[in-house]
Symmetry: C3
Subunit: 314 residues, 3 copies
């Protein structure tokens, strides 16, 4: 059985079940050690991780930064250093320059789908995709998977529903790939304008009516809606309209099985795609998702940089 031995993490699309399980096991090992009081597990001592966030981000960037520091690595924040790219330098020149400074990993978030892939082609430092355009957000899917396994066990027996703007969601896409690989039954739900035309090709069932989709699910994943813009392309008339039909609120949540869990990648629009009460209910595993995010990112950074053996550094 071959574990995750890649130099880059660009997507979940091509990860095998064995690779995913290897990441899960490594992440759990880090989580356990931190739970036992290991504040630093310095498998990356002295290594440098460059955080290249070309889109604003709170939790993902902080999560990667904490992950790197808990591994004993240093971070260089390129996000607030926008001068060169604003001076018209290309992403390629920027990346090649940073490469020449010999850091040990790049973590990149970019509005262009494929930007992380481009980096792997033009330079030699390991690249971790922290979200690229409408394409993928693989560490989000992996932390989601870790959380699902924590709460629901064997993934192949589970029915998972993703609700929201599926067409423009890298979170949805990465989750569909990893959940399908792990054998889950995946469905998506949203207004017809938010469902990509070819989505069934990915092996998922589609719903436009949330109420008919909910009763059989084990896991419901609510996506953030770009509420302030009426969706990305005015896909729904009003926030209130969206919320009433596709939000998970105190009425619709009653349709769920008693042990179904509710997830959200954050940041939440409370009262829009998820109600206040549901977000804070016992079903909600939103905060465990965040905790697992640090552990999963530690596992990924550790692996792509060939970190030292865990047992040797603790």
């Amino acid at each position: 059985m071959k574990g995750f031995e890649r130099k880059h993490l660009l997507s979940t699309e091509d990860l095998s079940k064995e690779e995913i399980m290897d990441i899960m096991n490594t992440a759990r090992r880090f989580r356990d050690l931190m739970g036992k009081g290991h504040e630093v597990i310095p498998t990356m001592h002295g290594k440098i991780v460059v955080l290249m966030f070309f889109e604003p981000s709170t939790r993902t960037r902080s999560s990667f930064e904490i992950a790197a520091k808990r591994l004993g690595a240093e971070t260089i924040d390129f996000s607030s250093i926008k001068s060169a790219t604003t001076k018209g330098e290309t992403l390629i020149d920027t990346a090649k320059n940073l490469e020449a400074m010999n850091p040990h990993a790049f973590v990149i978030r970019h509005s262009n789908s494929g930007a992380p892939y481009l980096l792997t082609k033009i330079q030699s430092i390991p690249v971790v995709n922290a979200g690229d355009g409408f394409h993928e957000h693989p560490t989000q899917a992996l932390l989601d998977l870790m959380t699902i396994m924590d709460y629901k066990g064997e993934v192949s027996k589970l029915k998972v529903l993703i609700v929201g703007d599926i067409a423009h969601s890298r979170v949805a896409r990465s989750n569909i790939y990893s959940l399908k690989t792990m054998g889950a039954t995946v469905s998506v739900c949203g207004p017809a304008t938010m469902l990509p035309p070819d989505i069934q090709k990915l092996g998922v069932r589609t719903y436009t009516d949330l109420k008919s989709a909910l009763p059989e699910q084990d896991v419901v994943m609510m996506l953030r809606i770009q509420a302030e813009r009426g969706g990305i392309n005015n896909q729904f008339p009003t926030v209130r309209e969206y919320s009433r039909h596709w939000g998970l609120n105190n009425n619709s949540v009653k349709l769920l099985k008693h042990d179904a869990i509710v997830m959200h990648p954050g940041p939440m629009n409370r009262g829009v795609e998820i109600s206040q009460a549901v977000a804070d209910s016992e079903r909600s595993v939103i905060l465990p998702q965040v905790t697992n995010g640090v552990a999963v990112r530690m596992a990924i950074l550790h692996k792509v940089t060939n970190g030292k053996n865990i047992e040797e550094v603790i």
Copy 2:
């Protein structure tokens, strides 16, 4: 005698004399060790401090960052990561998310009075108030106290005057509490529009005329004036008018006792609330305040996070 054993530092209002003295002693210990060449005193090795500055700040943030790093801790700068809150996420959701990443302390500056207190209610990580609205700025008062004790000794014998916009100053409020607890005689001075109506209840004497207040003081603390706005609510007609009546300049400074000291929390408006010559005079202890700030913040971070025993790590 019970020292400072709190999980949070929100205010000086409820600190006992014993707690304050414990903080002073710890801060002096750190200062001594740094003076002897200990560049790091790693009682917080591997711990993570999240700096949540929702108001701009130079010196306070740098001071906390240096304090954390001198204790061997790592810092996560949330200040430049405004995306989630600008996306409309609440402070509560932001804090709960950061909590889920398991850092070891939050340092928060916020324009809303009570924001640090709110954090202590909704999550479990230690919280240090780095200034909240018009409420309190406890580490400033503690570093001021440390400086006063350095230069003037026994606080209970001292007369201290605070000059400026007392009504809107968290620095004034925190200093009044700690200085009163330590037994000082505290007075405040400013235009009537800048003195809060109920200020005498705090046991301080009020002056509107600076010249009559100065002669008996041992310590004069000048507050920064929002000169560019004519004060917070147009409390004075012109900067020149304010400066002439309530600024400490080469004339008014002559009214002070020969050994009285002059303080300022910074950043100074030179030529407004304090003249160039007075700011740089022998009486000025403004830079020692800054030096003590690092030591006091080390003591606070060390204590709220239950840092390792100092003797064991040096």
Copy 3:
């Protein structure tokens, strides 16, 4: 023979050959150790470097940050902390306040020529000039020199041409000083409007015609043009005009000796002062310049802060 034992690095103008060679040797030592897998060479363990970038910068700031971290130092980023200076505080007050926090080095970039020198006069922490106005950018010249020595050997036998807006280039000025000290024959080339009137006093030859200057050169250093503004003072009519006459493109590069190298301090305007093909050609040593930048900055930070003996910490 006396090495570099200064407290500050403000310019290359007054550096002796012995001092320069000492910096080169130290930088090469650090580069060798990193090449052998030493991820940290902690001669500055626990020390704090304050990065004061008052002008935006990608590569220089990242390079200094990586240099500091590879020496085991911590960095405090003052660049994103603009509040105090925007509140009208002077550079002097800002610097004196930071000094009072007892960091171990200041790295400053400022639009005013002489700002780093000013800092050395009013406070006691070592100062490294990371570029001041049109004055100097000494670490750039030193990394350029290191790269020239790597590729071309003995500097005193070399002819070096610097092309661009010589009058407004701190990179040109610092390079002229260090290259002349090392015995190189230095020429400059650009539109007459970009050549300072008294440039010959520095012992350089001037050209306005690139094609006549190129054939005898061993090293050609292309400067970035402020293309978006038609140069700093509309010194040329159009970017196309500039590029055709003073850009190094596929035609003009043919005039060079077969073993001449091409340099650029970055960020490049590809297609303006340097063509795509030339930038990526075998002659180009632009990325080795960046790699050497980290090593040179390590050497400088190590030396101005009296870092521990290298052999003792590896």
